[in-house]
Symmetry: C2
């Protein structure tokens, strides 16, 4: 049961590409919440076109970022195959953040500043078990403190991301220091309190604000 989507007319397809390009560039600089009007203007089309092609902002985000998100999922899979669990975790976090460094919008999406699309939702569902496996292995190997959970890893991600967002315009490499701090901290911290349960992850990745 294919959905048999009729292909777009040539002019419509051209405009769609113009809109996607404009949206990508604006979102890379300004984040996901660029006004539709700005995108339309940058693309040289009218608002009508914008809305006909992407009635929901989600539709736009999906079209823009789904391949990047697939890439991140593949990173997680690759990391999960690493024999050295800690090395896999560190590598995965660094790669993911490097991707986010390319685009503010993508970073916001992956850390879901209030834009948890179904796309990202599913990505997290795929990646969390992989990360959880790595963490369990790393704990067993003594590479991480007992009690470390996927939520702590997610927290590290959010933490470095917040520095990236704050410094992106003027010190685009500063986040690497934050990453070094977060990674070293995960290894050496004495984690207080009860280990957070699985729901803590969703919480970190959803709707800050």
């Amino acid at each position: 049961m294919t959905d048999a989507v009729p292909p777009l007319r040539r002019d419509a397809e051209r405009n769609r590409q113009l809109l996607l390009r404009a949206a990508y560039e604006l979102m890379a600089v300004n984040g996901l919440n660029v006004p539709y009007e700005d995108i339309a203007r940058a693309a040289g089309t009218g608002m009508g076109t914008m809305y006909r092609r992407f009635p929901q902002r989600q539709d736009l985000l999906d079209a823009l970022f789904s391949e990047h998100i697939d890439t991140v999922i593949q990173l997680a899979e690759q990391a999960a195959g690493n024999e050295d669990a800690w090395a896999g975790l560190a590598w995965f976090l660094e790669r993911q953040l490097e991707i986010e460094a390319q685009s503010r919008g993508l970073g916001e999406l992956l850390r879901s500043r209030s834009q948890a699309t179904a796309l990202v939702q599913r990505a997290h569902e795929r990646m969390t078990p992989l990360v959880a496996g790595l963490i369990a292995r790393a704990v067993r190997a003594g590479q991480l403190p007992p009690g470390a959970t996927p939520a702590d890893f997610a927290a590290a991600h959010v933490m470095v991301g917040s520095v990236m967002d704050a410094s992106r315009d003027h010190a685009p490499r500063l986040w690497r220091r934050a990453l070094a701090v977060a990674l070293a901290g995960l290894r050496h911290a004495d984690l207080p309190g009860d280990p957070p349960d699985e729901t803590a992850i969703d919480l970190l990745y959803n709707d800050h604000r």
Copy 2:
């Protein structure tokens, strides 16, 4: 040259207090950007009252939070007197975050999510030299890696704060794990890249969007 502010009429003063109380409570839960109308409604006054008393949101923030900010400055001074530099730093960061945990709005203010008031500006100017001194001492004592700077400390603050904001509603203690990670990370990280200069601090504390 005193400014000889004429005292408010009794009803005006009463309403001022009602507004401050309402604003404090709303901002504790929802952050600094609560609509003026919500505050006025919660206080049981009209918008006119709100605007006559606090024409700029800054005026309101100053009245609400200046004493908290003074408290934080005193924490910094006290920490600077600690003979063990690292202990002073860790203690200061934890205390400051505990205060921020009381109120989302105060946290946003101290980490200046785009609300860098003159008040906070001055507080940072007072605290940064104190923190810088502690860090220099800690580095000399081998408690922090060489190259650690106040900006790295500020980054740790922002990092933990981001976790606090994300988890405040549902896991109000989770930030302590993030703090443990950040502190352990500062001590053990191998900080890459050139040490950030002083301007990096302002950058971290200003206008994350």
